[in-house]
Each structure stands twice: as structure tokens, then as C-alpha cells.
Amino acid sequence: MKYSVMLAAVGILGAGTAVAQQPIKIGVLYPLTGGGAVYGVPALAGHQLAIEELNAKGGIMGRKVESIERDDKLNPASASSTMKELITKDKVDIVLGGLSSAVGLAMSEVSKQEKVVYIATIPKTIQMTTDKLHKYVFRTASNTDFEGDTMAMLAGKNKLSKICHLELDYAYGNDLEVGILKALPKHAPNAKIVLTLKPKLGATDFNPFIPQVMAAGCDGVLSGLWGPHFVSWVKQAAPLGFFNKIKWISGGEIGSHEIAGELKGEYPDNVISNAYELWYAGNDPSHKEFQARLAKKLNTQETPQWAALGYIGVMYAAAAMEKAKSTDPDKVSAALEGLTIGTPVGKLTIDAKTHQANIGQFWGPMVKKPDRAYRMMEPAEYIQPK
């Protein structure tokens, strides 16, 4: 009788440790090929850094963390299939990532159907945390409402009176326009938008638009032209002296080092923009340490900003599971609501109602530095939602 009790005890202990040995699986989807790879690859690097650090410290709840990584190919249907695969085949406990708004919404839909928590680390579409909100979706990226609000605030601060408004004609650009228009009366009541132009997503030729802006007589531009769109605009507008007399206030993170380092001496004057993270400036004591580890992993001091977003996603996943003491999606979801954690960009809290983290961005003018080939944001002010 004692023997069988002992056997049973060993069996239970064995089963217990068997569960304890099972790794926690975090699934992640980013574009790793094609046009989105510019953002997806650095984001994944930040994600991987966080996983490495977690495992070095013993993992989550004492269990090792396994990261299962896939290319979302910037295609919503493909991302949807791959996310389902992560859930049904790889049995992940949580999914992170996404880049474009369409992919984010597709992943959110899978998350809702399969009842698995999804943390959107980069998609900015406001819908995700408003009409398409549900129990299992969370966002640690910023959103177009807040970005628009900040841009309107800067328009007021810089005393713009006649504004040319440039947005890319797709979901992000249209959402950002809504965000700006909502906030403009509040922050810059005397400002008037004299021209609105909407180049197409993926436009490489901005010559149809540049002369129109120059002829419109505006004293400032509010722009949502991100990445290659901004770069192409600069190259095509620079010969005409475009940036001499116009203030360019831009969302879309063209104040990041990636863009500054890419353009170097070509980066124009009079630009005020944003970045999620700057390797050379921090607003949190933990930033220097994070930056050092990231620089080591990527073999360069001048690290891309997207890594921080991938990193923060993992931090939240880990913190929520620790708090819930479980990987059960309902419990993790409940744990995420209202959860505050420290990150390389400061303390962040996820709103219990909207599931949106109050992540901010660095905003500031891009100035020439005598000892550098590229411009830097100075002063870089971290602007965060309340």
C-alpha cells in the first residue's frame, strides 16, 4: 500500500515536472521578405533579444521560452493561415507581431476565432482597438489617433497658419488624416489646411505633387509619408530648394536613425519628426543597457528603432503570463488589462478598456551634427498619451 502511494506520488511529481519542463511557446509573425522586411527583420531581432534575455534569467514561470518565427509576407490571408498553423500545429501560447494594418486585422480575427491572445506590436490602424476590438487582441504600438494628435499639437506649437497636408492614400494615411483633423481645431485653431494631396502607397515619383505644394503658399506641411516615400520626396524636391522655406512636420517615424543614416547629407532642413526609439537618446534609465545589448547583438551601435517594438511585445507577453501564473488565454488577457511594465522607453500601461498601451514616441527637429555624417533628433522629447 505504501509502495503504491509512493508510486502514485512519483507519478504525479513526474507529470508535474513534465508540465514544468514544457517550454512556453511564443509565436511571432513579421514580414521577413519583400518590401516589409525593412521593418520586419529588425523587429524580429528585438524580439529575439528579449527571448534570449528571458531564457538567460530562467524563462517565464521557470519554464524555457521557445520562439516560433514565421514570415507573414505582408499578405493578410497568408498571415492568417500561418497564424492558425502556429496555433494548431505548433501549439503556441500567444502570438505577437504583424506590420501592416491589414495583416494586423487579419491576425486579430484569427485571435478572436481561436481564442488566443495576440499582441500587435506595429500595426497602427485605430480600428484594432475600437470597432474591431475583442477580448484577446492588444496593441503595444502607437495608433493613428495619437500620432495625429501629436502632429496637430506640433502644428500649433510651430504656429503654422497655412498647412499643406500630405497623406498616402491607403488605410494608414486616411486614418492619420482623420486623427489630425480631429485634433487640429483643439491644438491649432487658427491653422487652415489649404491643400490636401494623397500620393498612392508605393509611389516613387512625387513630381506630380511637389510643384503643387510649392505653389500652394503654405508655411508648413503635415505629412504621413513614411520610409521610402519620404526619401524619394526629399530627393526629388531638394533640387528645387523645397525645404528652404517650409516646415515639415511628419509622422511615420522618419526621424529615426534608419532614415537619417540612409540620407546622410541629403537629409533636409526644417524637418520635425518622430521615432519610437533612438539609439542615441533615451527617456528611461534602462535604455542604455537595452541599447548596449542590442548593439552587441546587431554588431552596430546605430541600431534600428523597430527592434524596440519587437522587444516590448515579448516583455508584455512574459509579464502577463507571470502575473496570471498561467498561459491560459483568458487569464493572460485579464492580466494584460491595466498591466504596467518598465520598458526601454519608460513605463507603459495597457488600458483595460481599449487594450492599447500608452506608448509614446520621440519627437523633435532633425539637426546637423558637426561630428556626424547623419542628422540627429535634438532635442528629442518623449511625448506619451496620458
Binding site: G40, P199, A203, P239, G241
Partner: protein
Amino acid sequence: MTLTMFTLNAFYGLALAMNMFIIASGLNLIFGVLRVINFAHGMFYMFGAYITFTVAKSWGAPFFVGVLAAAAALGLIAFAIERLLLRHLYDREHLMQLLFTFALVLLMSDAAKMIWGTDQYSVGYPPGLGGAINLGFVVLPQYQLFLCAIGPLIAVAMWLLVDRTRWGRVVRAATQDREMLAALGVNVPMVYAAVFTIGSALAGVGGALAAPRIALVPGMDATIINECFIIVIIGGLGNLWGSFLGALAFGFVVQFGTVLAPNWQDVLPYLLMLVVLLIRPWGLLGRPETN
């Protein structure tokens, strides 16, 4: 639209057309002679731009050395591909060549990723072409003026090559009847190799010349390939001046269309092709295929 605006738009349309023509002329040559639908032509364009970046920005060479390097490199790559792989497919079903070029796109995109990473790059204007010329009522960027000059030069050079040289006659004959040509003792495989090489080198040059004006990003091959096909088709397959005309139509329609009807930006080239094909089923200067 004021006179200034009209002139500006016409000028920009022309510059765009010339840049597109250089790339499209290569596609037209390959397509016209070899009947190969080369999906990878856009990749060659992208490689041309990236190679120019490496040579001109990273190695510090002058911009035009970069352009020449792009042409040479793409020529070499194309020659290797043609001799080692493509030539085995000429006798096959034409559609399988499509599959081949599709595989090429996949391989080259990863090759680019491995060589250059996923960062964005920028090539500056060559010195002396980075400013603008003030004509009083209108200000024109120098680099675009340069493109407007280079485009017709390349067109004329190609026309001379294909129309006025013996080699050109051989190429035209290869389009009509390659068996006869081979029977006459011409090394047809070498003609094919040369055509593929020159056509691809042109794509590389097009990419190199486009580089100062745009951001170099992964994925830049995707739109270009469509636009090139459109230009070649609306001009008339295999016709050099057709491609020139097609490029002009493209440039003006896209430029003016984007200004006047911005909502249609995404589909302007396709609308243009639709209209042209419905009115002239063989393209503007094309002739009905006999085989």
C-alpha cells in the same frame, strides 16, 4: 493649369518616360527576339540600383562609374544565367520559361537580402546634376534634364545597332526564323546570349540611373516589372520606337493623370493599356504575329 504647371508636368512626364524607356527597351529586346517573358527584369533593375549604391556610395567611386559597373555586372549575371540555365529552355513550352524566370526572382531577391541586408539605401546625385536650372517661368531639376537627354540617346544607339549594323540584321532575322538562320551558319545561341545580356544590362543601367531619385528598398522590383511590360505592350511587341512611344504615353498619362485625377493613381497605367489595346490590339506600332 497655368503655363508653368503645364510645362513642369510635361517635363516631368518626359523625364519619367525616358527613365522607363531605358528599362523597357531591354525588356522589349529580350521579349521581341527571344519571346521570353522575363519576370526577373525588375530584379535586374533593382540589382543595377544596388550595385550603383555599393560602387558609388560605399566605395566612393564617381556616380557614372557606378552606372557602368551596374551595366557590366548585370551583363555578366545575365550572360551566366542565359548560358547555364535559360538556353536549355528555348525548345520547351514557352510557358515553362515563365516558371524559370519566376524562380529566378525568388533566388535573386534572397541573394539581394544576403548581400545588402534589408536596410534602405540612398544614392546621391552626381556632382553638377543635383541642382536646378531656372528658366524664368519654370525651374527644372538638372538630373531630370539629364535623363531627358540620355533617353533619346540610348534609343538612337539601339536603333542604329538593330537597324544599321550587320549584327542587328542577324538579330532581326533570328526573330523571324532561327532555324533558317542557323542553317545559314550563324551562331544563333550566341545571338540569343548577346540579346539577353544587352537587354538585361539595359535594365541595370535603368536602375542605376533611377537610383539618385528614389529610395532603394527591397521590393522595388515589383512595380517596375509591371510598368515595363505595359510600356512594351502598348508600344507593340518587339518594336523599338513602339517602346519609345509607349514610354512617352506612360510618362505623360501617369504624370498628368496623377495631378488631375489622383484617385486613379493606382490604376492609371492599366487604364492606359486597356484603352490602347482596345483601340489597337497589337499595340501602337505593333504588327500581327504570324507565328
